[in-house]
């Protein structure tokens, strides 16, 4: 089959590889009809996530048709159309039982590696480094899905791939980010990053009752899309977000701040140069410019929600502000399984049509170009969907 493989920094290729097979009783094989490139994939593309190996198949946002099931999977049958959470979860451990699916104890065969980095291992993820399981991803014609009896959700008739594909990651991710803000009536939520995650965080914050959302980025078309979603916007290259946020909130600061940028934040000023240099020579694994700003801007007693991915260590975190303003911080890879059904319902009821985000629809073969334009925000690219079985264009 054809699959998008990682071969090094800024080197992804469409390779011909063997088809996946059932390896465990609870596996299923899915024929991928749609798969997307995520901001998280860019951290791999840019070489910032350790333990990638040349030839690893990428992709964790995918959906398709069941073609084969292991003997332990009785709830799915051939031909079922499903969306698949990017987190791999067993459904029966302490964490899965408590709806903390991205913390599943049993899905990372390389848990020992993660334990070395983090003390404990989170769940395995599709196509996201050996540290997090080393599972082949879904930017491919076919993919093996472990614990297929608990993960994949059948898609009701009448909904297109594009309407439900983002249930696999970014819609739940934006939603969980907003939920982690414990929004109360009258709240103002600030969202750094108007990429796909930020866009869903903005819309979810309104769904959960925020009165105002202020969105921060520098890419015009992304800011425009945020505005279309009801947010007030700030271009951080034109105005210092800290000052502006204070002015816009009567001096109080936003009640909650969402960092939907993560470890590769673009920055201005000397401190960002410091991060760039330290990251380049591997003295600091992540560039926490946005996290710093969020902590500094947040109102006293407010919430900092971090869906943006960090991989390792960061410097110069304003811990003094964090403690003395009595802030709360919440984060995590998304507990996708928890949100699948409720968010599908919102799509069915027409409360949101997630396809608003898609700017590019391309065949799988074009993945190398797609990664590049998504990363460099060329051609107004906001979200790419790859179609492995699309007729050649």
């Amino acid at each position: 089959m054809k699959a998008v493989c990682w071969h090094g920094t800024h080197d992804v290729r469409v390779d011909t590889v063997p088809d996946p097979t059932i390896l465990n009783p609870r596996d299923a094989i899915i024929k991928v009809t749609s798969t997307a490139i995520c901001g998280s994939d860019l951290h791999l593309y840019d070489g910032f996530i350790p333990t990638m190996q040349s030839g690893d198949i990428l992709g964790h946002e995918f959906m398709g048709e069941v073609v084969e099931t292991g003997p332990g999977v009785t709830n799915l049958k051939q031909g079922d159309r499903v969306v698949v959470p990017f987190t791999i979860s067993c459904g029966s451990c302490f964490f899965c039982e408590r709806d903390l699916w991205s913390l599943c104890d049993n899905s990372n065969p390389n848990a020992w590696m993660a334990e070395k980095f983090y003390g404990h291992s989170p769940s395995g993820l599709f196509g996201y480094s050996h540290l997090l399981g080393g599972y082949a991803g879904g930017q491919a014609e076919y993919v093996r899905v472990p614990f297929a009896d608990v993960g994949p959700l059948k898609v009701p008739d009448g909904l297109s791939d594009e309407q439900v594909l983002f249930l696999t990651d970014i819609f739940p991710t934006g939603y969980m980010a907003a939920e982690n803000c414990d929004i109360e009536p009258g709240d103002t939520v600030a969202v750094w990053g108007c990429g796909p995650v930020g866009q869903f965080a903005i819309r979810s914050a309104f769904m959960l009752g925020a009165e105002r959302v202020i969105a921060i980025d520098r890419v015009p078309e992304r800011l425009a899309l945020a505005q279309a979603g009801g947010a007030e916007i700030l271009n951080y290259e034109e105005i210092d977000p800290g000052e502006a946020l204070k002015e816009m909130t009567g001096g109080r600061g936003p009640d909650s701040c969402i960092d939907s940028v993560g470890m590769e934040a673009h920055g201005t000023g000397p401190i960002s140069l410091y991060d760039t240099v330290k990251q380049a020579v591997r003295l600091e694994s992540d560039r926490p410019q946005v996290l710093r700003q969020a902590i500094a801007a947040c109102r006293k007693g407010g919430r900092v929600s971090v869906p943006g991915v960090y991989g390792g260590f960061i410097d110069k975190v304003p811990m003094g502000a964090f403690v003395n303003k009595a802030l709360t911080m919440r984060s995590g890879q998304t507990h996708v399984h928890k949100y699948l059904r409720p968010l599908l319902e919102r799509v069915q009821k027409g409360e949101i049509d997630p396809s608003f985000l898609i700017t590019h629809r391309l065949p799988l073969e074009e993945a190398p170009r797609a990664y590049k334009i998504f990363r460099d925000k060329e051609d107004n690219c906001i979200k790419v969907v790859l179609k492995p079985f699309a007729a050649a264009v």
Partner: protein
Amino acid sequence: MEDSVSKQPSKDTEASKLERWASIISGGALVLGGLQQRSLRGILMAAAGGSLAYQGVQKKSTLKQVGEAVGIEKTILVEKTVTINRPAAELYSFWRQFDNLPKFMRHVKSVQVHDAQHSHWVANAPLDQSIEWDAVIVDDQPDRLIAWTSTDDAEVNHSGFVRFQPATGDRGTEVKVVMEYELPGGAVAAAIAKLFGEEPEQQIGDDLSRFKQLMETGEIATTDGQPKGA
């Protein structure tokens, strides 16, 4: 205050070591915490208090003496604990059937059960070799503890126990494994040392993760055999 601290005995006496071992086996103490002991087997014998008739005399094998003489004698002692979201009784029953062990212990190729107490173990060694020994159960407390040790004539002195303790607040069962491989020296020692590599802790930890996966999910997470680009 400082005076009274400095008056504490600075080293564990043999008797207090034995007490700590007994306490960890009975479940009173929770962590071994680097307590070193020349022979887990001797401890198990003493702690078991003859609850099972095991007629063995501690003797030093000649191989071991050779090993000591040339300085490659090595003891691997590891302690690992994992919490498993299943009742102790179920975990105990699965483990008690020793022929189940190779399902999750990667270095153990097979365990043949002879009778209620005796079994024959075969472990993988590098270069398609294997190492074999007979083991006997020296303590068996249903749903709580199983302790075993190799017999006197075994080439490898292997001892271990697994303890099952309910975790607080309905959080499953804490499973603690303590295992020791006392290497006699020579080729066998080299083979085992290589087998465990630098990090026996990690290997036993991995075995325990696999045990947990098997008991909680019915299968062991893997990516062996999945596709990959050239």
